[in-house]
Subunit: 122 residues, 2 copies
Amino acid sequence: MSKHEHNTDCCETPEVHKDLLKKVAETMPEETELYDLAELFKIFGDSTRIRILFVLFEAEVCVFDIAAALNMTQSAISHQLRILKQSRLIKGRREGKHIFYSLADDHVRSIIAEGREHIEED
Amino acid sequence: MSKHEHNTDCCETPEVHKDLLKKVAETMPEETELYDLAELFKIFGDSTRIRILFVLFEAEVCVFDIAAALNMTQSAISHQLRILKQSRLIKGRREGKHIFYSLADDHVRSIIAEGREHIEED
DNA sequence: CAAACATATGAACAAGTGCTCATATGATAA
DNA sequence: TTATCATATGAGCACTTGTTCATATGTTTG
């Protein structure tokens, strides 16, 4: 039995396809979960949003201060905060004129940590 | 000392800004790392690529079989495999006419697992 | 009330993305 | 070699995305 025996007849014997399709169908998440997963990672796929999250790692901050820390306009930051809030990665707390933003939970930290691990290996 | 005292003078006292800016500057990764991080998450931000990865969770598979499992064209899958390979999330091994793809390392699993955890909480 | 401040939002536009189609490359078999 | 199979790739197109600019909403202060 060769090392790759189960693969050598790929694209030829329909049984292999059936087995694979069955296994994949069993473990593949629902369509909606796949979509949600992609949507979630899309959020992390922009360096401005990642920078915002790194700011929020340090403190609960208002929009103006995030804009200052990242040297960007208030409008640009506000648009991104809305996206982050919609994905429930951050939350806002109003206090008078200000709205202070903070991380919604610790998943954000662990997801980014996992990403950094992949990047830093070489 | 009120619960949020360090925030109430946000946007007013320059000292607070300086402290925040300093703290942020210390912990914020380099520009290139931020860029790479965003690029990495961008890869996961597409449900076709996520589906491909779920197939590769199950077996080492050739392009044709991935296309069959996902009911997509060979060309579309091939384009995505190139992107996944460039990010070193998967690797290809040629065996005759076929090229078998598999996960490059276990980071892929843990990153996706972290993402699912965030989604499934409610 | 009006004025000032903090934040949010809609339109518009440039840049990027994923798929399709046609074609090219690479490997094997006749 | 030629034919065939497996995979890769370039161009084109519809669609999405992030920013800017102008403006709106909401809160506090005078």
